[in-house]
Amino acid sequence: MKKNKMSVTSKQHAAGWAFLAPATLLIVIMSFYPIIQAVFTSLKTGSSANMKWAEPLLYNYTRMFKDKLFMRSVGNTFLYLLIEVPIMLILAILLAQILNNKDLKLKGFFRTCVFLPCATSLVSYSLIFKSLFATNGLINSILVNLGILETNYNFLGNAKSAKVIIIIALIWRWTGYNMVFFLAGLQNIEYSVYEAAKIDGASSWKTFWNITVPLLRPTIVMTMIMSINGTLQLFDESVNLTNGGPANATITMSHYIYNNSFGQGVANFGYASAMSFFVFILVAILAFINMKVGDKRD
């Protein structure tokens, strides 16, 4: 057989490339090309039909720092991030710890229950929270009937309570999701370690902080990065639950970007792209810090 001059390894290489090629090509066309185009778009202004290079070139990038509304959306997003992520992760670890108990009955049932919110679509759960907390909604009826509130309270019409509700909704939706990662992490910790601790006389609180948490560090770092990333891109809740209101008090960065690009009659693609890159840089920086802090390898 003289036809095949290729050696076995180079043949394997060729096959490898052949298998990689379609996916790579699709990623390049569907992701990388638009990203590069977005860089150019972010340097342009004008109506979407007739975009011109901005004057000065970085106009869109300087504009966003003077834009009070964008700055507020950044503030809101960080507020959600700072309050929601720690509460959610601590709850998730505690739940995982409880559900990992060897003596617990109906473990599968409880695990399913906690994970179930993640199976609901973002839009539908937002709409359900919206109707729960509506002025004539269920929560108001309960609180009024219990005598806690005198008259129905407009939860979503008030900036502070609307933010609290977004945070509650986020915790409800994502705690179970993170718990699953912690559960998986806990399975990897040898039971003998706990046994040894017990023999040494460590209380369960000490065991938790000195054994469970350090051994779960990789999982904690991963869930942190995912949660931070997810919260920075928070969109569905802001759109569906409060629609950014009242008076844009609860708007998030992604929602504002969306409003600028696909909001009614706006089509301000240049500015929206510039803001997207701002979010991109934020995510990159936060993930970097997180990895540096979380990475305790010698």
């Binding site: 109506s47 979407s48 039909a49 003077k66 834009d67 009070k68 509304l69 509506a134 002025t135 004539n136 407009n154 979503l156 019409g157 008030n158 900036a159 409060t242 629609n243 209101g245 009242p246 008076a247 844009n248 008090a249 696909f262 009614q264 009659g265 706006v266 089509a267 693609f269």
Partner: protein
């Protein structure tokens, strides 16, 4: 070898199914027009007797278009067909125009589109070749309310043919007013101070607010200001903080909220579903297209009446809010037919407008068409008063005010300022200054 053949077949099958999957996405436009069933491609009329149009409301503007199609079929061209592409809400049409304009490809649009008048100025500015003017259409423009045409006339060119009417009505529950010891006559063109007085009585006696509005898209400022003959814009620039009337109006709104006369809803659905359908209010002030929403509460039939809105100094307030027109897109190949059709029907045909009113509750801004018997019939829901004729009459008094392509941006900023004032007790001038700054920022001033 067999395996190879099999894998090639599999790949082919997958590719084919992918292509087929993408293909089914097309041609989803439904046909709702008269007897038109050929909705294969909703975007273009296939022959010289067919036009396509996009509209969104099955109980409002689609019956009006069907009425027009039937009128034209019966009286002009029996072969005429109107393919109606029904979308679920008005913003779908607006988004499709932005999309087509951004892509520079208008072939996705129908021959004619219906959308809110406030948008046309922005569209013509942003996408100059998206719409064809209808100057050549045989329409007596003087027969239409001046204010309505002031939107769709740009550089003395007519772009739109009016369909419905945005004239503001102040509708009140006469039974609740009576319970509070007042009557609708007291409210006719009263001062806002008087309005607040009555509103307090109504809230204390019946527990209902005299007025509600969508707090996010607060149209009240625009309507109250137009009743004074003023605009939020002056010579293309925002006129907010220096506008004494506007400052006064915002103060009135704040007072109304504090005294439980006005309820600001969280969003549009909250406004319609909770405050109006949920029976929270004793009055509604908005464009008359809100009437079908009011009428959905059948239990209150016969308990409503309409009148003019209050003003600061007293006297009948006339304003207009919303309303849509038909616009011919660049994709229309048969402009002549489009113009003929529009001129014959919405240009002033009694048959079209009477049927549109009966089937969809669409009220015209065409002055002569508003004088027919159908318009002068009493409406049972409104205590058998002839509200339609009244509305057309009121519409002829509305003064045109300066319009801007930044109408909705302005509305959003001022609405945000109002929420800031009513909820957080912000200073009126400061909050409005903030709104003006932000508006200037977005306008690039």
């Amino acid at each position: 070898m067999k395996r190879k053949v099999l894998s090639v077949l599999l790949v082919a099958a997958m590719t084919a199914s992918m292509v087929a999957g993408c293909g089914t996405g097309k041609g989803s436009g439904s046909s709702a027009g008269g007897d038109t069933q050929s909705a294969e491609n909703p975007t273009a009329g296939e022959d010289e007797h067919t036009l396509s149009v996009s509209a969104w409301d099955k109980s409002f503007n689609i019956p009006a278009l069907e009425a027009a199609a039937k009128d034209y079929q019966e009286n002009v061209d029996p072969d005429f067909k109107l393919n109606i592409n029904e979308v679920s809400q008005s913003s779908d049409i607006e988004n499709s125009i932005t999309l087509a304009g951004s892509a520079g490809d208008y072939s996705t649009l129908t021959d004619i589109v219906l959308f809110q008048d406030h948008w046309i100025q922005k569209y013509v500015a942003d996408y100059p070749d998206a719409f064809q003017d209808v100057n050549d259409a045989d329409i007596n423009w003087d027969d239409f309310a001046e204010e309505k045409l002031s939107f769709s006339t740009i550089d003395d060119k007519h772009y739109g043919v009016p369909v419905d009417n945005g004239t503001v009505v102040a509708a009140y529950r006469i039974d609740l007013l009576e319970e509070a010891g007042h009557s609708i006559d007291e409210l006719k063109g009263c001062t806002w101070d008087k309005f607040i007085e009555i509103g307090e009585d109504v809230y204390n006696k019946t527990g209902k607010y005299l007025l509600s509005m969508d707090g996010d898209g607060n149209d009240l400022v625009y309507m109250m200001l137009q009743a004074e003959g003023e605009s939020q814009f002056k010579d293309g620039k925002p006129n907010i903080v220096e506008n004494d009337k506007l400052v006064k109006i915002v103060e009135i709104i704040d007072e109304m909220v504090q005294k439980n006369v006005l309820y600001l809803a969280n969003d549009w659905n909250d406004y319609t579903d909770q405050t109006i359908l949920g029976d929270m209010v004793a009055g509604v002030i908005n464009g008359n297209w809100i009437i079908p929403t009011i009428e959905k509460v059948e239990a209150n039939s016969g308990k409503w009446e309409i009148t003019t809105m209050p003003t600061i100094e007293g006297g009948d307030g006339y304003a207009s809010n919303g309303g849509a027109s038909l616009y011919v897109t660049a994709n229309c190949q048969n402009k002549e037919l489009a113009e003929k059709f529009l001129a014959y029907t919405f240009g002033g045909s009694q048959t079209t407008y009477d049927a549109a009113l009966k089937n969809g509750g669409v009220i015209t801004t065409c002055i002569s068409a508003g004088k027919s018997d159908v318009y002068n019939e009493g409406v049972e829901y409104f205590n058998n008063t002839p509200i339609y004729a009244e509305i057309v009459e009121m519409g002829s008094h509305v003064k045109p005010v300066e319009q801007s392509e930044y109408h909705y941006t302005c509305r959003e900023k001022v609405a945000a300022a109002i929420i800031n004032i009513t909820q957080n007790g912000a200073d009126v001038k400061d909050a409005l200054q903030d709104a003006e700054d932000q508006l200037n920022f977005e306008m690039g001033n």
